[in-house]
């Protein structure tokens, strides 16, 4: 019985929010605002619980002296430091902002640099015996577009070259749009599936 009540509640909320996207009425807008503010509050509490979960997991790793437990100690110390500074100075304080940026920006930039190297290694690793046709096309197009991006394309001012270049330019745009359409359809059917089966117990 309780299951049916939840289902009706979820469906009604979803329909009201969906109606707010397509129709514009003052009452509907008001209801949507209230529902959205509730959802944002719940999401905020969820984020807080997520942070507690993160701290619990890492303090557990330190207690049990698991592999790389020193990293967890660094995380716990930096979190406590940043948290206390944030409480004392407020998040918009220039000292606090520069403190956070001094940690986050170099770390993220280093990881981005690591990613660039990882991708180069992955591309080299992809050239191996038994390579399939799709990978050949991918590597060829990656090399071609990298070359085109340098600007050193012979006779690029010629009309024929322009035609060929514009044709090659439309290929990735078409591919990306095709993938995005697929993703859109996938999101739509997944959302409907979730609404038609909210909170259903798993069958083993």
């Amino acid at each position: 019985m309780r299951w049916i009540v939840w289902r009706i509640l979820i469906l009604t909320t979803a329909l009201i929010l969906l109606a707010g996207v397509f129709f514009n009425g003052p009452i509907l807008r008001e209801i949507n605002q209230i529902l959205l503010s509730w959802i944002i509050t719940i999401a905020g509490v969820a984020a807080l619980l997520g942070i507690f979960n993160l701290l619990k997991v890492h303090s557990g790793r330190v207690r049990q002296e698991r592999t790389d437990w020193v990293n967890s100690v660094v995380l716990l110390f930096s979190f406590t430091g940043i948290f206390i500074t944030g409480i004392l100075l407020k998040p918009n304080h220039p000292v606090y902002v520069s403190l956070v940026n001094a940690i986050i920006t170099p770390v993220e930039t280093s990881l981005l640099a690591l990613l660039a190297i990882t991708l180069i290694v992955a591309l080299i690793r992809a050239i191996r015996p038994g390579i399939n046709g799709t990978t050949v096309i991918f590597i060829t197009s990656a090399v071609l577009f990298l070359w085109a991006a340098t600007g050193f394309v012979p006779f690029q001012e010629a009309r024929q070259s322009q035609l060929v270049l514009s044709f090659f330019n439309t290929l990735p745009i078409g591919g990306a749009r095709g993938i995005l359409l697929g993703v859109g359809l996938g999101s739509l059917t997944t959302g409907i599936r979730a609404l038609l089966r909210p909170g259903q117990k798993a069958d083993s």
Binding site: A46, E108, A122, F138, V183, G186, L188
Partner: protein
């Protein structure tokens, strides 16, 4: 434009309900073969039989954002995989980069565990949030992957290019990696770095391939019907535009 969007949603709902009613008596549908799913199924069997763990990474697409669809698909996949490996020697680990997804994944593991006849012990450490910004999330997940207990890493949901780092960590730990995302940039990184990739809408049907039921089958078929419909509309539109009628 609004009517076109609403019509598409209504059409999808009607098709799913109709096909679900028709599919109810069918036990198994014949879907097209996607090599990544075959590889995933083999890796899953191998991992569970070997008593190793599965790490499922659910991305950072908040439930309140337009990327919620990919998160829902990832959570469905978590439920499908958890059904198979909750009672394994090494319990599965679900990592995410958003508080609401972490709660959602814990709830999913709880529901799946309660639904199993044999019962399964779920603890909050099985659903972890490993970071809240794109790269800290990737770094936290890499740390969890390096554990050595996880021989299968599945990454589904919303990511950025940092997904390449997850693939690299899995390869270094000699774990099998499969992934799918709704982000074009992350998808190209994934294609370059991983051997098992779910492209475009494939990952939305992932859980349907692992655990088939009538609603999943109906939604995958609806997806295919709508795609064919859109292809026809695009071709007609292109022809009309070329003829100067649009």
């Amino acid at each position: 434009m609004v009517n076109a969007g609403l019509s598409l949603i209504l059409l999808a709902v009607v098709l799913i309900l109709l096909l679900n009613a028709l599919e109810r008596k069918k036990i198994r549908s014949n879907f097209r073969i996607i090599p990544s799913f075959d590889q995933l199924q083999r890796a899953l069997n191998h991992t569970i039989e070997g008593g190793q763990g599965v790490q499922i990474t659910l991305g950072r697409g908040s439930i309140l954002s337009p990327q919620a669809g990919s998160t829902l698909a990832a959570v469905e996949m978590l439920a499908s995989i958890a059904r198979l490996c909750l009672n394994s020697d090494t319990p599965p680990l679900a990592t995410s980069g958003d508080g609401s997804i972490a709660l959602f994944s814990y709830e999913t593991l709880m529901n799946t565990g309660q639904g199993m006849r044999s019962g399964a012990r779920i603890n909050p450490r099985m659903a972890q949030i490993t970071g809240v910004s794109p790269f800290t999330y990737a770094a936290g997940t890499m740390l969890a992957q390096r554990n050595g207990k996880y021989q299968l890493a599945v990454a589904l949901g919303n990511y950025g290019p940092e997904m390449g780092l997850l693939v690299d960590t899995a390869e270094r730990s000699r774990a099998f990696f499969t992934g799918g995302t709704d982000n074009i940039l992350a998808q190209s990184v994934l294609f370059a770095s991983s051997r098992s990739v779910l492209i475009g809408e494939e990952f939305f049907s992932a859980s349907g391939y692992i655990h088939q039921d009538s609603l999943h089958n109906a939604s995958i078929k609806t997806q295919d019907i709508l795609r064919i419909f859109l292809i026809i509309v695009i071709i007609i539109g292109a022809v009309l535009k070329a003829a100067g009628k649009l």
